[in-house]
């Protein structure tokens, strides 16, 4: 298997705060990897490092073996890394199809001179962009809503439109930041199914941050757990569920001792009875 994205000892500090601390992560091509962890664990910061929004202070980020850390966001995007946001960030005053067309920006070449002269290149590209936009809208189930302003779409449709915009540049790696946040169980199921189809049908590698454990355990090939910026566990769903450090990170260190105490007392009572 080829490695799609790899982080080597990536660290990011904000003043004295260590947001991401020497995180190593390897995601193989065409797999679905999840990053989980309590609030403030540095998940989104790691995403921002990968997508080029932050420059990590230490470590390397390799995309198909080539270093991408320190490159500006737009170049990282052009290489084929697309992302969505925790709180949906669409171009609200643009229509849905225009959002998808902006997403295709790096794939085309026509500049301002082409636009003024309406050259053949400009016209062909515009036609292609609209066709591709309609195809993608259909793919995410927004056919017929293309001319609505993005901000007028319902919540679930906005989530899907954001993914359509991310797909527009034909990415090889898709970063999804809490794709099912704010969804009801039914919508969540649909989204889970949809994410899986992205990998199976389009062959895209997916790295996602998610809080809904049902989703994470259901679709992940590999789960990484962050806490206070440090990777504390890695593995498949089963391993993570029974990992002591993960339980401590989520529920606090006293949880285990409490259960132990409970067990102990139960045993004592049992002993006293008999």
């Amino acid at each position: 298997m080829t490695v799609c994205i790899e982080t080597k000892n990536v660290s990011k500090f904000f003043g004295g705060l260590t947001a991401v601390n020497e995180v190593n992560l390897i995601v193989e091509e065409q797999s679905i990897a999840s990053i989980i962890g309590p609030n403030g664990a540095g998940k989104t910061t790691l995403f921002n490092c990968i997508s080029g929004y932050y420059v990590p202070e230490g470590g390397e980020i390799l995309f198909y073996g080539a270093p991408i850390h320190g490159q500006p966001t737009y170049q990282v995007a052009a290489l084929g890394i697309a992302r969505t946001y925790q709180n949906i960030r669409l171009f609200g005053q643009m229509t849905a199809i225009e959002n998808v067309m902006v997403g295709q920006y790096p794939r085309f070449k026509a500049g301002w001179v082409d636009a003024i002269l309406a050259t053949r290149r400009e016209r062909n590209e515009e036609k292609q962009a609209i066709q591709e936009g309609r195809r993608l809208l259909k793919f995410v189930g927004l056919e017929g809503l293309g001319d609505q302003l993005a901000l007028n779409l319902p919540y679930g449709a906005q989530r899907r439109l954001e993914i359509a915009r991310a797909l527009a540049n034909k990415p090889r790696l898709l970063l999804l930041d809490e794709p099912t946040a704010g969804m009801n169980p039914q919508e969540t199921d649909q989204m889970t199914h949809f994410i899986r189809s992205l990998r199976d049908e389009l062959g895209i590698t997916i790295l996602l941050i998610e809080h809904d454990m049902r989703v994470v355990m259901d679709i992940s090939d590999q789960i990484t757990v962050l806490d206070y910026g440090t990777k504390i566990a890695e593995g498949q769903a089963k391993e993570i569920q029974s990992n002591q450090r993960v339980i401590e990170a989520y529920l606090g260190p006293d949880v285990t001792s409490l259960t132990e105490k409970y067990q102990l007392r139960k045993k004592q009572r049992h002993d006293a009875k008999s």
Binding site: Y53, P72, Y74, Y105, A110, W112, L117
Partner: protein, 518 residues
């Protein structure tokens, strides 16, 4: 318990009272009367006292406005005639009361020989006398009170009647429905969609543009030439501010670069280069575009409103440099540059006002064409994406720095183009042509018209540069009216008179696809 009608009437009345008193204190009551006179075709002169009839009509109009807005349909209560009349009466009476008191005070002061002009330069004895309808002080105040009260009540009655008269309502409804049916009908749409009908409309439009400058004389050519130059400026500023969302306050800087480059290249003094008009025009536009590029290079990587501050500084530096002794040898200093060249073609020179009007119309058409082509292109979409969310735009692969730089250079080049036309038409340009007020005007016209929208900019330029020429009486209140207009715009139509709309790409593509299948 006070009823809501009394409350509302009082509130509206006090607001209108304050408006009337403010108008009186700044002398606008006289101007307003003059404007009313103009509607009836009577031009007023500045020296003669305003006509009483027109002043009364002006006051009645204000009273009607107050009464009608107080008696507007209530949201929660029943819309009864009694309620409307109460509200209208209270509005008219309270506005009248406030105005009458002010009239009484100033009338008495004037009677005692005190001239309020020491403190309030616009309150002349003439305007006080008019405010009291040329009557003795107590009677005049009473008349003011009565006039406003009656007009308030009358307006309330009429507005209530118009709202609740069923016959009238159904009549209006039927007429408007018939009109809409006609507009939407097959026959009309067949005509509007017919390409020949469009060509015909275009021909008529072109004929108007050709004939008008020849017939309406030099003065109107000058006024509408200025409007045209401001349309070009507005279209230019709209690229960087309306589409790319980067506020530029010192837009006049690029206008000045264009105008001075052209002036220095074509005028006999101070350098005696006297280049050909067209060569100098291209060089002027290029110089402005390059100045935009250079000023953008160090700052456009930053986010936020740095560009606004830096261009503001640039505009002032350029103006002060042009005025300074340091530059006198190169730019003639505060005297400005004279005898700037006019357009020539095949050895013939075209410098009459009609020729210039044609040139400006042509320039407006060219710039509009360029702006329209750019608006929804890939580049235009990238600009708008940066405007809406720069972080996300970068993450979708847009090089925001280069995009913004391009927008600023194009904007600057268009401003330079306007500057060239301006300098060439006036055959003179000096530091005082390039004050900050030009930038403010352009920003205003873009905002008022509808930011980001090309027809809106035309409307804005006519409203802000054409209307003040037509309404000469309001000359001294131009800034005040600007301010009021902007505040009202922000309250009532924050997106401008003609807000921008996005194109329906999916629908048009879908209909095309259907056409191909069939």
């Amino acid at each position: 318990m006070r009823s809501s009608a009394v409350d509302k009437g009082l509130r509206v009345g006090v607001i209108f009272g304050i408006i009337i008193v403010t108008m009186f204190l700044i002398g606008f009551t006289v101007t307003g009367a003059g404007l009313v006179g103009k509607i009836f075709g009577v031009s007023s002169s500045y020296s003669a006292p305003p006509s009483l009839i027109f002043f009364s009509i002006f006051m009645v109009l204000l009273g009607v406005w107050a009464g009608a807005s107080a008696a507007a349909r209530p949201l929660t209560e029943e819309d009864s005639l009694r309620r409307a009349l109460t509200a209208g009466f209270m509005a008219g009476a309270s506005a009248g009361f406030i105005s009458a008191i002010v009239g009484l005070i100033f009338g008495t002061l004037a009677g005692k020989g005190i001239d309020p002009r020491t403190y309030l330069p616009s309150v002349s004895p003439d305007s006080i006398r008019t405010f009291l309808f040329n009557q003795p002080v107590p009677l005049g105040s009473l008349l003011m009170f009565g006039l406003l009260t009656v007009s308030g009540v009358g307006a309330a009655f009429v507005s209530h009647f118009l709202r609740n008269n069923n016959a009238l309502k159904t009549g209006l409804h039927n007429t408007s429905a018939a009109a809409w049916n006609l507009i939407g009908s097959e026959r009309v749409s067949r005509v509007t969609k017919n390409p020949y009908a469009r060509y015909a409309a275009l021909l008529v439009f072109a004929a108007i543009l050709i004939i008008l400058p020849r017939t309406w004389g030099g003065y109107w050519n000058y006024v509408f030439g200025t409007v045209g130059i401001y349309i070009i400026l507005g279209l230019g500023l709209n690229i960087i501010t309306g589409w790319a969302g980067q506020l530029v306050i010192g837009y006049v800087a690029f206008f000045a670069v264009g105008a001075y480059t052209f002036a220095l290249l074509t005028a006999p003094e101070p350098h005696n280069l006297v280049l050909n008009f067209w060569v100098a025009l291209v060089l002027g536009v290029l110089a402005a575009g390059i100045s935009g590029l250079l000023i953008g290079l160090p700052i456009l990587n930053l986010r936020g409103d740095y560009l606004a501050i830096v261009t503001l500084g640039l505009a002032e530096i350029i103006r002060i440099l042009l005025k300074s002794d340091l530059m006198t040898a190169y730019t003639n200093g505060p005297r400005g540059i004279r005898d700037i060249g006019g357009p020539t073609l095949l050895g013939q020179s075209f410098i009459s006002d009609v020729d210039f009007m044609y040139l400006i119309i042509l320039a407006v058409l060219v710039v509009t064409f360029i702006a329209t082509r750019l608006q929804n292109s890939r580049t235009g979409k990238a600009w708008y994406a940066i405007n809406l969310d720069e972080t996300v735009a970068r993450a979708t692969g847009i090089n925001a720095f280069v995009s913004k730089l391009l927008a600023l250079s194009l904007s600057a080049a268009i401003a330079g183009f306007a500057g060239v036309l301006f300098a060439s038409r006036n055959q003179f340009t000096g530091p005082d042509d390039h004050v900050l007020m030009v930038s403010i005007n352009v920003i205003c016209l873009v905002i008022v018209g509808g930011i980001g929208n090309i027809p809106g900019i035309f409307l804005g330029a006519f409203a802000l540069k054409g209307l003040p020429e037509i309404l000469r009486e309001t000359e001294s209140y131009r800034l005040l009216i600007f301010g009021v207009l902007l505040v009202l715009m922000m309250r009532l139509r924050p997106e401008g008179f003609l807000p921008a709309k996005r194109p329906a790409l999916e629908k048009s593509a879908a209909s095309k696809a259907v056409g191909e299948e069939v």
